[in-house]
Subunit: 356 residues, 2 copies
């Protein structure tokens, strides 16, 4: 604490991202990264963009990328906003749509960045507890005073709300903005992007970090009515005119164009997820039904924290949340098949030795 | 305006960046970009970084880059913060060090993003008018209630405050943070970075956009006491954990390592600036003494707005600010020698035809 800190700095509790170990000794299944590399066409586009034009500012409006994305999503360019990762898009959204005096709603167990944003921007919030099966009690999200934000599939459980439930939440909040954070939507969920033309208060947030294997490039999107997109643009242009560098623009553009690669990678991950879930259930784990690139699991015989430490010792990094209601669970990112074989084998051995 | 906009969005007046024409027909001297390409070693580093690791998040702490930069600046790693362009660094700084109830001070003619940040974050501010020669009346920046921000060399005039004046401003504001925005310091000014160990309330902001020819990559820095850097880290980690992508990290790292290229490019620009200034003076222009990569010029016989339009017609893009006190000036970025030859020739011809 320093006397030069603003009252905001003194009061916030920053988000803590998952470990990013630098020694690379781990099978890294703790931050939901894609085990497969980005499309070779994306890497080639990056190399092509590494030229003298980097001396020039990037296009502050990201026009070409927004057009490419619009085509992919079946929307218009003015329904698309681009940000430096979906975290930046979410931060701008809190500034653009929520007000201090009108509290927003989000579940007690969700992406842990939401309360951080709320504190940073002094937005009041009310917590809606998930039920005992960690499902969202939808009706409790109806008629918020200031807005709603949920992740779908849900973080950190991976459970998916059907699109009919999303519609109901949105149409029961016509006086405020409902944000659906779809970071993991490409692993088996149906996007709410299709509802945008019906609801002027719906904002859908996506990212290229997960299903497009581009966590290292920082590209996120918001999709919504053009007046919501205009609001995000006004915030961005009052904060940092050029948030996306020229290389990231080139990479993102090419990523949307190589749909085949992305479909094939997502299909592989879904397949590995289903097999992994099935084997974990055979070992006695509770495995929540996941439509994301991770599984949320719990075992009656081993404390999650212990299993977390034991796996770490064996060179496997997963995520443990030391929080009420979910401290009996581990979140394991789906790696490639050989990663998951090693994980399953290791867990099997650990369970056997625990039982002795 | 939409009923879904927050009160912030309704009230802000976003910054308007200089034009980024897409047709590339212009000699582009309107956004102070460097006319020379980035170091070939930087481009090679980008190509090398275009690999499968892009599937992984970047290092949120930018450790390696901060160590490289620390060595360059003669500071410690914990005295260095990295952001997505110096604009993001400035935005975070407004949140980290300024409070709504304590107004900050900045000159009436300065980087036009400062009042935008102030409105965005609801920070009160008092404007200190420059004198008739557009110099800063230093004493009026002493004893601010909430902090001070100035650019040095000054935007948009290019004039440099000597380091002795910076010291005095900082030591007369020991109760609040003084931000020195040094976007253009490498074109002949002395950085205040050397004062950091003496003043816990000094924050120096720099960028790789100008002197390092990397406007397209978005990399900015703050240098200051470790407690100020900690505050910026807390804001960043409440906003977006990973603001710098892997490619930008690699590019920035290599840029600091290739000091020779950067020195030689900066020397060329300084040389072209002095020659251009001298020839413009010969044509009757008032040319403010610039230590930046641009000139701020005014002519008694031609209105700046007219000259701006005439130059645009001739394929030369410069910056005209339609603002009181500076609407008789144009800001012209220093291009390469052949760009400036064409600009000088064109201006000479325009002046002759205006006089007829």
């Amino acid at each position: 604490m320093s006397r030069y800190w603003s009252s905001i700095v003194k009061n916030i509790e920053p988000y803590v991202p998952g470990e990013q170990p630098k020694d690379r000794k781990y099978i890294k299944l703790n931050t939901n990264e894609n085990p497969y590399p980005p499309s070779p066409r994306v890497l080639e586009a990056i190399r092509r963009a590494a030229g003298e034009d980097l001396r020039l500012y990037p296009d502050p409006d990201c026009s070409e990328l927004r057009e490419t994305a619009a085509e992919y999503y079946g929307l218009n360019k003015n329904q698309i906003f681009v940000g430096n990762g979906s975290d930046e898009v979410l931060a701008f959204s809190f500034m653009a749509f929520f007000d201090p005096e009108r509290p927003i709603l989000f579940p007690d167990i969700t992406y842990s960045f939401y309360p951080v944003y709320a504190k940073l921007f002094n937005i009041g919030y009310e917590i809606v507890p998930l039920d005992d099966q960690l499902n969202i009690p939808e009706e409790k999200l109806y008629k918020s005073r200031g807005g709603v934000i949920i992740s779908n599939p849900k973080a950190p459980t991976g459970q998916l709300l059907p699109i009919s439930s999303i519609s109901k939440i949105v149409e029961n909040n016509m006086d405020s903005v409902v944000i659906i954070d779809e970071a993991y939507i490409d692993f088996g969920g149906e996007s709410a992007a299709g509802l945008i033309d019906s609801y002027p208060n719906l904002l859908v947030v996506q990212t290229l970090s997960k299903s497009r294997s581009l966590a290292g490039m920082r590209i996120g999107f918001a999709l919504g009515d053009s007046s919501l997109i205009e609001a995000l643009g006004r915030i961005k242009n009052s904060f940092n005119s050029y948030t996306i560098d020229r290389i990231a623009l080139a990479a993102a553009n090419e990523s949307f164009r190589d749909e085949e690669y992305f479909r094939s990678v997502s299909a592989k991950i879904i397949c590995t997820r289903e097999r992994t879930a099935s084997e974990l259930k055979d070992m006695g784990f509770t495995v929540l039904d996941s439509k994301a690139n991770f599984l949320f699991i719990s075992h009656p015989d081993v404390a999650a924290r212990d299993l977390f430490e034991l796996l770490r010792d064996k060179g496997i990094l997963v995520r443990y949340f030391n929080k009420p209601r979910i401290d009996s669970f581990l979140r394991i990112t789906i790696g490639n098949d050989s990663d998951m074989d090693y994980v399953l084998e290791t867990i099997k051995n650990l369970l056997q030795s625990c039982r002795i």
